[in-house]
């Protein structure tokens, strides 16, 4: 519920600026987009780790899927998700170099469908809300 409120606040902020004719600076716009994307990173990461992947290959996969995420955000996030028990990791030597592979844990597998369902309801809710907004304006 708190996430919905934050998303709505951000959308309201965008809308408010558009209605009032204020020109948002590039920096403000980037910050809002960053906030919006931050909310979906966990779901995106969990959805890509049904098979083992090391950090850099995961970054590339996410980028190919359209989500550009930098290392400074991803690696600490992977550690946090592992600490929460949603991911598992192990070190492996490949091409004379150690690489840490991450994969979704059992707990993560249980959580993922619930997160997907939650995401779908957010999308439905937002579609409905934006549709209402379109009709009003």
């Amino acid at each position: 519920m708190a996430n919905y409120t934050i998303t709505l606040d951000i959308l309201y902020y965008i809308q408010y600026n558009v209605i009032n004719g204020d020109i948002m600076t590039n920096e403000s716009f980037d910050n809002v987009i960053l906030e919006l994307r931050r909310g979906v990173i966990v779901l995106a990461v969990l959805s890509q780790l049904s098979q083992e992947q090391y950090g850099y290959s995961l970054i590339n996969n996410l980028r190919e899927g359209g989500l550009d995420i930098d290392q400074g955000t991803l690696y600490p996030l992977l550690r946090r998700l592992e600490a929460q028990g949603l991911l598992q990791s192990n070190w492996r030597i490949e091409a004379d170099r150690p690489r840490r592979y991450y994969v979704i844990s059992k707990e993560g597998q249980t959580l993922l469908p619930q997160l997907k369902q939650e995401w779908n309801s957010i999308v439905t809710m937002m579609d409905k809300m934006l549709d209402m907004e379109r009709r009003v304006s």
């Binding site: 290392q71 690696y75 170099r97 150690p98 690489r99 840490r100």
Partner: protein, 353 residues
């Protein structure tokens, strides 16, 4: 050591030792992956330019290390408003005391411009050092409270931070049982100052005079005589113990957020000990060290000295009686709160009827 190793170690030295090696290995592996991809895209072997490029992309080591660390506060948002209030109070008190001292000194000694400027300069230095000491001590006390609250909340099982909130707990927090946050923290700060001054700077309680007949209280280069006697300072170890226990009680109260029977009994016990110490002070030898012989004959016969020697013991006696009275009232209030809390709990749970 190559550039990547230097970068990784720059990040690592900002991380806690427990996780450092693991995070360093992961960053190193990620950088090697980036370099490999960059080299394969460029169709040439990796060189220093490529390494500089990927390191710039990865970011400032300080920022990278920061992304692995939780938010840390010396004084967190919950304590900051109280801290800021006390800073203002302390700075205001310091300013008033220094200005008063300045006024007295200027009135008594500034016979010419040069002396006046010297007194002003001394007052400015005094204000600066006193304000800095007050501020530093406040920061230290609050940092300790923040640390204690954070650690106890994280590690000790059964504390409010670890428990799921239960509406039934409201029955325990009847209005008289809720602690007054500002008052409790102010008590910690003032008690800390009392411990500090009486144990490490007893000379602050000296009376100084110069041959010209000017007076001041505190440390200085003039002739100074102690106001309080040895008999008084014999009570300091007992008072210090009570003050330390008071701080312990306050920290427990800050963690819990409300009074319970145990903390009430703890507080009542401390107040009883306080009364006993005050009574012993009243019954014992004089707590004032000043006598007519403390001053040269030129001063001891003055009316000011005669009045001072007469009223000082009276002030101490009145102060001790007030302390006994205040502590007794506090004990009665604590007992009454314990009884009313019981009635409050009965009313809430509906057991009274």
């Amino acid at each position: 050591m190559n550039l990547i190793d230097s970068y990784v170690s720059e990040v690592g030295r900002r991380l806690p030792s427990k996780t450092r090696a693991d995070i360093e290995a992961e960053i190193s592996s990620a950088l090697e992956d980036m370099l490999e991809e960059r080299s394969s895209k460029a169709g040439r072997l990796a060189d220093d330019d490529m390494v500089f490029e990927i390191l710039k992309e990865y970011g400032d080591p300080e920022k990278v290390a920061g992304s692995y660390l939780p938010e840390r506060y010396l004084i967190g948002p919950s304590l900051y408003p109280i801290f800021w209030t006390l800073v203002k109070v302390f700075l205001a008190i310091t300013l008033i005391v220094v200005l008063l001292g300045l006024g007295i000194n200027l009135g008594q000694s500034a016979h010419d411009l040069q002396t006046g400027l010297q007194i002003l300069g001394k007052a400015a230095i005094n204000l600066y050092t006193s304000a800095l000491t007050s501020l530093a001590t406040l920061v230290l006390i609050f940092a300790i409270i923040e640390w204690a609250l954070k650690n106890s909340g994280k590690k000790v099982e059964g504390l409010p931070l670890n428990k799921e909130w239960d509406p039934h707990s409201l029955t325990k927090i009847s209005p008289p049982n809720r602690i007054k946050l500002g008052e409790t923290i102010a008590e910690v700060v003032f008690t800390f100052f009392a411990i500090f001054l009486f144990n490490f700077y007893p000379q602050v309680f000296n009376l100084g005079y110069s041959t010209s007949g000017n007076w001041y209280i505190g440390t200085g280069n003039w002739i100074s005589v102690p106001i309080l006697s040895e008999a008084f300072f014999r009570f300091i170890p007992y008072l210090t113990l009570v003050w330390i226990l008071t701080i312990v009680l306050d920290i427990i109260l800050l963690q819990q957020g409300y009074w319970n029977t145990l903390t009430r009994i703890f507080s009542i016990t401390l107040k009883v000990i306080n009364i006993a110490i005050s009574a012993a002070m009243l019954a014992g030898p004089s707590l004032i060290a000043l006598t007519a012989s403390s001053f040269p004959s030129t001063l001891s016969n003055t009316q000011a000295i005669q009045i001072l020697l007469k009223i000082l013991p009276q002030i101490i006696r009145v102060g001790l009686w007030l302390s006994i009275l205040g502590n007794t009232i506090e004990i009665i209030k604590a007992f009454s709160s314990m009884i009313s809390n019981r009635q409050f709990a009965f009313t809430i749970t509906g057991k009274s009827s």
